[in-house]
């Protein structure tokens, strides 16, 4: 329970200076950019404190690890989705993509394939889905909203076809350790989540590709005239989103040890909510993975706490919806002011 709070906090510090941040924290700038995740970070701490006070059994190691495990799939989806949204795109298909990847993994297990094959097929399906979304969006300059909305629909159809509309329960699931085991007391799914975030954080903040993503979202024309292959980079962000859908799909499949036809449906909205809560702008160019992780944790903690308090799931949804609205609204108002200050 101690290693989860300092973790994101220190990472916030490392990431607050935005794409070019390095060296010592500068005085004038950090007020503009660090606020992006600072707000939701504070909100998360406040929420955790509140839940620790009022929700029974919330503040126990077992429960906190459980929150992390529950949130891992959404958090991983949101990590890939952050790349897409940073280029001012959107990927609505991740929930259905997760369904397809989980289905592929379970069906492979059902056919008696070994764990490695099931995992590779599942991740491969995710990459392929992302590639199709990305190439169509970038090459034909179609609105990502429409392309991925269509993907949401047809991919769901694939899940129905693959599961034949019923629950598929293989005799054994060779990769079930992904969803079931723990290492050093922490569930494997949580380790995977942390690894995905670490890897993608590096990709976004330390590589040429990451800078190109941010530049495209910040000013696509400037990026193009700077010789950046805008289409290629944009398409790749959807591949990343597809890959994370594959990873999340594996985790979900390993946890459930079965595939149901509506697996993952609605996940895309939770993932987008986590991204936006984390301070990433839907207009592109601004945001961070640390923020997204905090946003996902926020959603996880809220829903876990409400369950512990025996709030009925229907009411949970109502509360969740309004809390997200409130968080985004507060963020918008704060940002509106800070941007007005930024201008000359």
């Amino acid at each position: 329970m101690t290693d989860l709070r300092p973790q994101p906090q220190s990472a916030v510090d490392a990431d607050t200076r935005g794409p070019g941040g390095r060296g010592r924290r500068p005085s004038s700038l950090s007020t503009v950019t660090s606020n992006d995740q600072f707000g939701v970070g504070v909100a998360l701490i406040a929420l955790v404190a509140l839940m620790a006070l009022i929700a029974p059994f919330f503040w126990t190691t077992g429960n906190l690890l459980d929150v992390m495990r529950q949130v891992s799939a959404i958090a991983i989806l949101a990590a890939g989705g952050t790349f897409v949204i940073l280029t001012a795109g959107i990927d609505l298909s991740v929930g259905s993509a997760l369904g397809v990847c989980a289905m592929v993994a379970i069906v492979s297990a059902d056919q008696g394939l070994p764990a490695v094959a099931a995992i590779l097929l599942s991740l491969g399906a995710g990459v392929l889905i992302g590639l199709v979304n990305g190439v169509i969006t970038a090459a034909f300059a179609l609105p990502a909203f429409i392309v991925t909305l269509a993907a949401l629909t047809y991919l769901r159809g694939f899940v129905y076809v693959g599961t034949d509309g019923t629950t598929v329960i293989p005799k054994s699931v060779p990769f079930d350790w992904i969803g079931q085991s723990s290492v050093l007391g922490v569930p494997v799914a949580v380790w995977i989540m942390l690894a995905v975030y670490a890897g993608l954080w590096f990709l976004l903040n330390r590589t040429v590709f990451g800078r190109q993503v941010l530049a495209i979202g910040g000013n696509v024309e400037a990026a193009r005239l700077s010789g950046i292959g805008v289409r290629r980079v944009t398409a790749l962000t959807y591949v990343i989103s597809g890959l994370t859908a594959g990873i999340a799909g594996l985790i979900v499949a390993a946890r459930l040890e079965s595939a149901v036809p509506d697996l993952g449906s609605g996940y895309e909205l939770n993932a987008i909510a986590a991204i936006v809560l984390g301070g990433t702008s839907l207009m592109g160019g601004r945001g961070s993975l640390v923020g997204t992780l905090i946003g996902a944790l926020f959603i996880g903690v809220l829903s876990n706490g409400m369950t512990l308090m025996n709030i009925e799931s229907f009411y949970q949804q109502i509360i969740m919806g309004f809390v997200i609205l409130l968080a985004v609204l507060v963020d918008k108002l704060r940002r509106g002011r800070s941007q007005a200050r930024g201008r000359i």
Binding site: R22, N219, L225
Partner: protein, 518 residues
């Protein structure tokens, strides 16, 4: 038909206005009279539009008085409109998805008793307004199906709806075809006959001589001259527009040009060309011409920012593939675009990430950027260009225009180009930053780079260039070197006063058949 009534409808005196510390109008006066067309002439940035926006209540002056019909004006748009001032902006402000009638009724929609839109009365009113300007289309036409000229007519109809005493037209012909210009002129003459005072902003000489009764020339925010058109000549007006000494700002040591580095042959698209152009290593070639003559478009075409329909571009003998800035960059081209905010910089990102944006490969190995190398690139450039900043992590948005421009220049210099194309490199830049930019241009040419500079500021263009080519209507119409380099020599072909053709293939259309559809 010239000035007849004595009391002016509008009387502006001692108008002073600054933007961001830069004085754009310095004690300017203007009188508009009923039944008179008053042209405002001057180079870009001379203050014409600002002066008119003050009259229309869009800006408030810092000092000076504005009297409309003898009454002191209140500086807001509504009051100006009530006082009888209507303005037709250079950029059309219509909603293309609505009908002409809806656009004309915008902001003063008529409602029926039930609160719904009264479509019948809206249509009738629109038809009356269209009749008044002699429009050939009906009120139910969707605006985006109209030509630019027809849309302009809608704007004018809207401006005339309140029977203004003063009508301001801001470069109304900039986007019109020849027949549309004829129609507009007829309309303006008709308005003059019925006693409207008309202020007409233009920098096209033929419009001044054909249409205006009086012309006021502005230069650098100062009123240089107000004279009756009948008593002056186009040459005189031009000389008044440009006449100022070239400062010692441009300490340009001419290089002995080397081999041809940039070779452009037959380059064309729908609006431009065909253009032939050579720039040698160490040579600075300026492109002169009016705004809209196709200079920026030519630059974008060379760089591959837009798709060319014909022609070739070569850098040091290697062909540059069309429509790929990426490939152009690899071939050694760099383009500093005209609008740094929209096309050049990522404003919300930090200074250092903007500086390395076009040369990410140089600060990284196997795709991983080295923060140390980014930092040293940024330090190097900020020292070389004297970029004033708080820290390298500061968002570019917070910098002054001059420093933003230096960041953009730094970004391109990091790519170590062989050909540097600069489009209005000193627009909106203070004098100190200008000097730094000129110094960098000199350094670049001294290092053997081929430099192509577009500038609307003639002294700058002449000061930094070894050679100037002049564009008009998408074609190169003149080439000037050495002793031939003078402001007048650039302006005359730019205005189409004498079009001695140069560089084979550059065929300007016949002057009267103006097909500048933009």
């Amino acid at each position: 038909m010239a000035a007849q009534s004595d009391a002016p409808v509008v009387s502006m005196t001692g108008i002073i206005k600054s933007f961001a510390g830069v004085r754009v109008l310095d004690e300017v006066g203007l009188e508009l009279r009923a039944g008179e067309v008053h042209a405002l002439a001057g180079e870009n940035g001379a203050g014409k539009s600002t002066l008119m926006k003050i009259l229309a209540g869009i800006h408030a002056p810092e000092a000076g008085t504005v009297l409309i019909g003898g009454q002191p004006a209140v500086h807001d748009v509504r009051s100006a409109r009530q006082a009888g001032v209507a303005i037709v902006h250079q950029e059309l402000m219509l909603a293309g998805n609505l009908t002409v009638a809806d656009n004309l009724a915008m902001g003063r929609e008529r409602r029926s008793r039930l609160g719904a839109l009264d479509r019948r009365r809206t249509t009738e009113a629109a038809q009356r307004m269209l009749d008044e300007v002699g429009a050939s289309f009906g009120p139910h036409t969707r605006v985006d199906s109209l030509s630019t000229g027809q849309q302009q007519l809608v704007e004018i109809a809207r401006a005339l709806a309140e029977n203004p005493k003063v009508l301001i037209l801001d470069e109304p012909t900039a986007a019109l075809s020849a027949p549309e210009v004829t129609n507009l002129f007829q309309l303006v003459r008709e308005l003059r006959r019925t006693g409207t005072a008309i202020a007409y902003i233009t920098h096209r000489m033929e419009e001044i001589t054909e249409l205006a009764d009086v012309v006021t020339v502005l230069r650098d925010g100062r009123q240089v001259e107000t004279v009756e058109v009948a008593r002056t000549t186009p040459e005189h007006i031009i000389s008044r527009m440009i006449g100022r000494p070239i400062g010692s700002l441009f300490a340009h040591e001419r290089q002995t040009p080397g081999e041809v580095v940039l070779r452009v042959r037959g380059l064309a698209d729908q609006q431009i060309g065909p253009v032939d152009l050579d720039v040698r290593g160490g040579e600075v070639v300026g492109i002169g011409g009016l705004v809209g003559s196709g200079r920026s478009e030519l630059a974008r075409l060379i760089f591959g920012a837009d798709r060319r329909t014909a022609g070739t571009v070569e850098v040091a003998g290697r062909p540059v593939p069309p429509s790929s800035p990426q490939a152009a960059m690899r071939a050694g081209l760099a383009l500093l675009p005209e609008d740094r905010k929209a096309l050049g910089l990522v404003l919300d990102h930090s200074i250092d990430s903007n500086i390395v944006l076009a040369s990410l490969d140089r600060v990284s190995s196997t795709g991983v950027t080295s923060r140390r190398r980014v930092r040293s690139a940024c330090t190097e450039e900020s020292e070389r260009l004297r970029i004033k900043m708080g820290s390298a992590a500061q968002p570019v948005r917070q910098l002054s225009g001059g420093n933003q421009q230096k960041v953009l220049l730094a970004k391109w210099l990091r790519t170590e180009p062989q050909v540097l194309i600069l489009d209005e490199p000193t627009r909106g830049v203070d004098i100190g930053a200008k000097a730094d930019i000129y110094r960098m241009i000199n350094e670049c040419s001294a290092r053997g780079m081929a430099v192509l500079v577009i500038s609307s500021e003639l002294p700058e263009l002449l000061g930094i260039s070894d050679r100037v080519v002049v564009m008009r209507e998408g074609a190169l119409v003149a080439e000037l070197t050495g002793t031939n380099l003078s402001e007048e020599a650039v302006m005359r072909p730019a205005f189409g006063l004498d079009a001695d053709e140069v560089s084979g293939g550059a065929q300007p259309e016949a002057p009267h058949e103006e097909g500048v559809q933009r």
